[in-house]
């Protein structure tokens, strides 16, 4: 098969899937940070995202520490 056009057809849809994935990641990072600044717990963020607490922790902890957000301890939830 000759190389398909980089525009039109599946190329547009595949590019859109890739762009949306990047936007979803950026939006998640921004909103998790916003929630934690507002005092949400890891569990609340996880529940709202529909993932486990561990998953949120693993993905965002280092970044939130860098942002110097005061994170709630587990027993303070």
């Amino acid at each position: 098969m000759p190389s398909p056009s980089p525009l039109d057809g599946p190329a547009d849809g595949l590019a859109a899937a890739s762009a949306l994935r990047a936007i979803a990641d950026q939006l998640e990072a921004a909103e998790v940070e916003r929630a934690m600044r507002a005092g949400w717990s890891w569990s609340q963020v996880a529940e709202a995202l529909g993932v486990t607490r561990q998953a949120v922790h693993k993905k965002h902890l280092r970044r939130l520490l860098l942002a110097q957000i005061e994170l709630r301890r587990r027993n303070g939830e």
Binding site: S3, P6, I23, A30
Partner: protein, 169 residues
């Protein structure tokens, strides 16, 4: 090469391969300005259009591809891509988050461009030393993805430019 491409600090690796330090540094600047976490092929091409003299600058100038034209083509590519899914690009402020200050690494499209550039350089000279021109060819040889989409939108003849860059004419 894969080990080199995974190196923590990108710029020294690129410089060791023969990419001028200013250009290697510009890759990261372009990626950061785009809000990207990794350097992709479009950031490298943007950086190459920012070079003011030499063979690559002459080739790009002849093809009418300057920084401003490429940037607006990339913006239009993004608009068109998101419009396919019924979306507009979100405001930068909406998706602004604190980023880890880790050095940038090469994304998949950038690695692919480097691999093609190295293959081209070896074919011609039997040594692993890249000229910026080889890298330009490697970037332009991608047939699908953001760079060929943006170039098609800008009306740039990618195939001709790629073969000029690789010296095949």
């Amino acid at each position: 090469m894969n080990r080199l491409l995974a190196a923590r600090r990108l710029a020294p690796v690129l410089v060791a391969w023969g990419i001028p330090p200013g250009v290697a540094h510009q890759f990261e600047i372009e990626a950061k300005q785009d809000g990207a976490k990794v350097v992709e092929a479009e950031h490298m091409l943007l950086a190459l259009t920012a070079i003011s003299d030499g063979e690559v600058a002459a080739l790009l100038h002849e093809a009418g591809l300057d920084h401003e034209r490429l940037e607006s083509a990339l913006t239009e590519e993004r608009r068109r891509t998101l419009a396919f899914a019924g979306m507009k690009a979100p405001d930068r402020a909406l998706v602004a988050a604190t980023e880890l200050e880790s050095p940038l690494s090469l994304g998949t499209s950038a690695k692919a461009a480097f691999k093609r550039a190295l293959i081209g350089a070896r074919r011609e000279r039997h040594r692993v030393h890249l000229r910026t021109k080889d890298l330009l060819a490697g970037i332009l040889e991608a047939e699908l993805g953001t760079v060929p989409r943006a170039l098609a939108i800008a009306g740039i003849d990618r195939v001709t430019l790629a073969s000029r860059a690789s010296g095949l004419k």
